[in-house]
């Protein structure tokens, strides 16, 4: 049973029945723009600071000849890895995440990066959090810009009776730069929801000058601290954890230590469970800058990186199981990022230096594809300074999450992120409806039916009713999220149109069809070729 987002306006749309089609299994997904604006969906952003070594995290099993040529000193023996499928495995310490993967609750996006990779931690973190290009300096965060569209005028007038909860929560001392808005950071920083501090408010003598501006800012911060702390505390009191969050693996050093990521996610789960309506949570884990001793020489499956990944794997798995046990998992999407991957060739200290692209993980039960993208190709000729080349721009990942998870229109995503935004079907599984038999209408006045085969079964047709003469763009993605076909057709009023003819190069299987109107509304359909 798919989760349905309740729509107040659903009754307004006509839902004619469609004759079931042979040859195509079609199911529609909602117009993303129809997700209720007060959607209770939550994004949890996990920042793995330091630059995670993707090649020892998500291991391409079909590349061992290359790996043993260029990465021998830190490479992990194939038999020790945790296999996901015939060609891909995780680090030996990531068994818990493999279970999530098997369960369809973990997605891997291969080789995420951006053009002209900057290898400075700080600069690249700025790029990843602001969602800018490598040569652009943007002070706001990508999530902050989105939240700015949802919390007009923030912080003035917030919390309000409409929106009594903080837009975002950063676990820790520092408001995460991802949530930096044009005026102020949208996140409330929370160290410990059980131990919040009430700041004493008094009536200040305000003045209409620069002193007054700063004083007003401080007072707003104090007032928000108190109001938001109240709702955070309430939520934490009401909320619970349904599973025990494990300590660091007892075989790893230092013994008996808590799992730094698990401790944070535990708080997040409790606040969500208690009904906190913040849309975004950020957690932060340091230590991935493994220049030396990433692995132990004697056993490359052990070392600093093993300990880090064990923590990550346990924490994300405990969190996910907690949400599942509480029936919250379809509301929560998780995303990990690190400011860069590391180099392909190790250095002489059993570590790796700053590199380029690396994998991202998505977690939650609304993930479309277990794996998006192809395995990294390891060429024996890579130089000492080569990192993993990028397959996906991180902004396409962010933007696609905005589209599918937060119902942001593609045109707006372009202005929030970048003009070349390319949609990737990553997280729209839960947007699908239980019933496949619907036409849908967009707010710009289109009605679009289900794709169906023509008299030649290779032709895919669709019924469209458009307001006047327009163009309908389509994009077809394969199971790995690769764009395999894209074009547009002209439509004028009501009629049935041929979208495309299935090219012979496309194998049988399930594809995601994305349709977009001129004015920016978009929807996705699933198409299966026999």
């Amino acid at each position: 049973m798919k989760r349905r987002n309740f729509l107040q306006t659903a009754a307004a749309f006509s839902i004619p029945a469609l004759v079931p089609i042979t040859g195509i299994r079609a199911s529609s997904s909602r117009f993303t723009s129809m997700i209720a604006p007060e959607s209770d969906r939550i994004l949890v952003i996990v920042h793995l600071f330091g630059g995670n070594d993707g090649l020892n995290t998500v291991i391409p099993l079909d590349q061992y000849s290359g790996l043993s040529a260029v990465r021998k000193s830190i490479m992990i023996e194939e038999k020790k890895t945790v296999k996901l499928n015939d060609t891909l495995a995780l680090h030996p310490q990531m068994g818990d995440m493999r279970n999530l993967f098997t369960d369809g609750r973990l997605g891997i996006i291969q080789s995420v990066g951006y053009p002209n990779q900057n290898r400075s931690h700080f600069r690249s973190t700025d790029i990843y959090t602001s969602g800018s290009a490598a040569d652009e300096f943007v002070t706001s965060g990508w999530m902050g810009r989105y939240l700015d569209t949802q919390y007009a005028g923030y912080p003035v007038g917030y919390p309000s009776s409409d929106k009594p909860h903080p837009p975002a929560v950063s676990i820790g001392d520092v408001a995460h730069p991802t949530c930096e808005g044009p005026e102020i950071n949208f996140s409330q920083t929370v160290l410990d929801p059980d131990n919040v501090r009430t700041l004493a408010m008094s009536n200040s003598l305000m003045s209409d000058d620069k002193y007054g501006d700063e004083l007003a800012f401080i007072r707003t911060t104090m007032r928000q601290t108190n109001s938001y702390n109240d709702v955070i505390k309430e939520a934490a009191d009401r909320g619970r954890n349904a599973v025990t969050y494990r300590y660091r693996d007892e075989n790893l050093y230092p013994k008996n230590s808590t799992n730094p990521l698990g401790e944070q996610l535990k708080k997040v789960a409790r606040m969500i469970s208690g009904g906190l309506q913040s849309k975004v949570y950020t957690v932060y884990m340091n230590g991935f800058d493994t220049h030396a001793g990433q692995v132990f020489e004697s056993n490359t499956a052990t070392g600093t990186h093993a300990q880090l990944l064990s923590d990550v794997s346990r924490a994300i798995s405990d969190f996910q199981n907690d949400l599942k046990a509480q029936g919250l998992e379809e509301r929560v999407l998780g995303l990990t990022f690190s400011e860069f991957g590391r180099r392909i060739r190790p250095n002489a200290s059993f570590g790796t230096d700053h590199g380029s692209a690396g994998p991202m993980f998505l977690f939650g039960s609304c993930i479309n594809n277990p794996v998006t993208g192809d395995n990294v190709q390891i060429n024996k000729d890579v130089s000492q300074s080569d990192g993993v080349p990028m397959q996906f721009d991180f902004r396409d990942v962010y933007g696609s999450i905005l589209v599918d998870w937060f119902n942001v229109r593609t045109t707006q995503v372009k202005s929030l992120l970048y003009d070349d935004f390319k949609y990737l079907p990553l997280t729209n599984k839960c947007n699908e409806q239980a019933s496949a038999d619907t036409d849908e209408s967009t707010e710009d006045g289109w009605t679009i039916g289900q794709p169906y085969p023509g008299s030649d079964p290779r032709d895919i047709l669709i019924a469209v009713d458009s307001p006047g003469s327009n163009r309908l763009r389509y994009s077809l993605f394969d199971g790995r999220g690769r764009l395999v076909l894209a074009n547009e057709i002209g439509v004028d009023g009501k009629g049935d149109h041929k979208l495309f003819t299935r090219p012979s190069r496309l194998p049988s299987g399930t594809y995601v069809l994305r349709l977009a109107t001129d004015s920016g509304a978009a929807l996705t359909r699933e198409v299966s070729f026999n």
């Binding site: 001392d173 929370v190 501006d213």
Partner: protein, 541 residues
């Protein structure tokens, strides 16, 4: 040079000398922006002495603090207790040198025996050059701090010369690996972008108005050849020094772009970096960039076109006409009409250093406690301040990036970066639950603030209204509301008539250290200060 900038210091000009009334509020304003946490005594002295004499005092070259020492017996077995380690090799166990350095730095900041700008400028430089990075040792960090102390109000050109070949900077921006075969542009780029010219608008590919990519490449070559001695954590007595290695220096001509007058830098060997700096200093952009940094540090973050034309430009002219001596610029800025304009008085959000010092230093910090005069305790106390500041997101030897702390450059938030809900709560906790708590301990020794000393330093301790007003003058940037004032008075009277105070405090003053009289007053003052530092206004200076 722009025409605008030469029309300076007419009577109406904001940069012309301040001629208004020199009262306690103005004196306190000047001291809050220059000394960290001025005391009532300092404020009164400054008011009596007048603006000119106060500037003389503040800008006087202060003695260089004696270096950090070995403060505990259980490490650095080759050094005597109380002796400095800054010139000693890393033979033996050196695990407390880091704490020693931190403790020393914060104790310098907290010292109450001089009224000077030295510590304020030391942090200015820490932020200006923002050196960080793992390749360092404690002696190199000390050397860097010492340079900042020596050059607190020195010559800007000399400072750039010295920092260019300073060991820790060479490590930080890869100067130590910059050689003719493989030039590293890291330092050359930041030297222009951050330390001198400033990056202007990008007007074409690789052209940043004030310099181009060609200049970055050319300067990188000109700066080749500087190496650090192999001193890092060395057991041998290798001094923390850099040296010029002519074999790795690029002796060819370096052609600069039209932005830098198409000049050619010819081989100057070990002095070539000075040629580079002289070229960069021949453009007003360098002076302007520096004066903007000073302005954001001392006055306010926003620099509009008026401030640029009528404050920054005249300051830059002063800097240039005084051959880059900083003192005349500070005299001009801190003595200007503009500096005392009401709008920006109190409009700086305190950084963590100011937050701690402005609470503790007016109360005499803990210097009266004999326990803190013990060498080890003193260093541990200083180290504790370092921990608080780190909790408040200021790690003084690890600035977040080479641009420094966001508070001083990141628009539009600037100083607001120092505060977030969690940081507000941390500030509140450190001030109220730790420093002002009657059970405050440093490593097992309970220490307390000297309320007696504070009360007896006031002009009229017997009149509660005057006690409150004088305290507001010292601790808060501007007058507060009546209801806030009443809150403070109630913390003292606890509902009793205000006249009770006179009797209480008379006994208190007459019987120092006698619990019967001391405790009730100390407890009330503690409450009073806990309320005062909780005001939003206490975050400002």
């Amino acid at each position: 040079m722009s025409k605008q900038s030469t029309q300076q210091t007419t009577a109406a000009s904001p940069i012309s000398p301040y001629t208004g009334e020199w009262d306690l509020e103005k004196a306190a304003h000047l001291l809050r922006r220059t000394v960290l946490g001025p005391s009532l005594k300092e404020i009164k002295t400054a008011q009596k002495a007048g603006l000119k004499a106060t500037l003389d005092l503040l800008l006087k070259e202060a003695p260089i603090p004696s270096p950090p020492v070995k403060y505990r017996n259980d490490y650095d077995e080759y050094i005597q207790l109380g002796q400095t380690w800054v010139n000693s090799s890393y033979r033996g166990d050196n695990r407390y040198r880091g704490q020693s350095l931190k403790g020393w730095y914060y104790n310098n900041m907290m010292r109450v025996d001089q009224t000077n700008i030295q510590e304020r400028m030391c942090f200015f430089w820490l932020n200006y050059f923002a050196i960080s990075g793992p390749i360092t040792d404690h002696r190199a960090m000390y050397r860097q701090l010492r340079l900042y102390q020596e050059m607190a109000v020195g010559n800007f050109r000399t400072m750039i010369q010295r920092i260019t070949v300073e060991p820790r900077m060479l490590f930080c921006l890869d100067g130590h690996t910059n050689d003719s075969k493989n030039p590293n542009e890291n330092y050359a780029r930041e030297l222009m972008e951050l330390f001198t010219l400033g990056k202007g608008e990008q007007v074409a590919e690789g052209d940043y108005t004030n310099y181009t990519e060609q200049d970055v490449a050319a300067l990188a070559r000109a700066l080749t050849g500087w190496r650090n001695k192999d001193f890092l954590y060395s057991d041998d007595n290798i001094p923390v020094e850099s040296y010029f290695d002519s074999a790795t220096h690029d002796t060819g001509d370096k052609q600069l772009s039209h932005r830098l007058g198409n000049k050619v830098i010819r081989n100057g060997g070990s002095n070539e970096y000075k040629q580079v700096i002289d070229i960069l200093f021949s453009y007003k952009a360098t002076a302007l960039n520096f004066c903007k940094r000073l302005y954001r540090y001392f006055v306010y973050y926003e620099i509009d076109s008026d401030v640029l034309a009528h404050v920054i430009h005249p300051l830059a002219d002063t800097l240039i006409s005084n051959n880059f001596e900083i003192k005349p610029v500070l005299y001009q800025l801190l003595g200007s009409q503009h500096f005392y304009e009401k709008s920006t008085r109190g409009a700086i959000i305190k950084n963590p250093h100011d937050y701690l010092c402005s609470l503790l230093r007016p109360l005499g910090e803990f210097w009266h406690e004999t326990k803190t005069l013990n060498l080890q305790r003193r260093y541990e106390l200083g180290d504790q301040y370092a921990n608080y500041c780190s909790e408040l997101q200021l790690e003084f030897l690890e600035p977040p990036t080479i641009s420094g702390w966001k508070a001083y450059y990141d628009s539009p938030q600037y100083y607001r970066h120092w505060l977030s809900p969690a940081l507000m709560q941390s500030r509140d906790k450190i001030a109220i639950d730790n420093l002002l708590d009657e059970d405050y301990h440093i490593k097992g020794d309970r220490i307390d603030l000297n309320y007696y000393g504070y009360i007896t330093s006031l002009t009229d301790p017997y009149d509660l209204n005057k006690v409150v007003d004088e305290t507001i003058l010292v601790f808060l940037p501007r007058p507060i509301s009546t209801s806030q004032r009443n809150l403070l008075i109630n913390k003292i009277t606890r509902g009793a008539d205000i006249s009770e105070w006179k009797w209480q405090v008379t006994k208190y003053i007459q019987n120092p250290g006698v619990d019967t009289y001391a405790r009730p007053v100390d407890d009330r003052l503690r409450d009073f200060f806990k309320t005062l530092v909780g005001f939003a206004e206490f975050q400002l200076q």
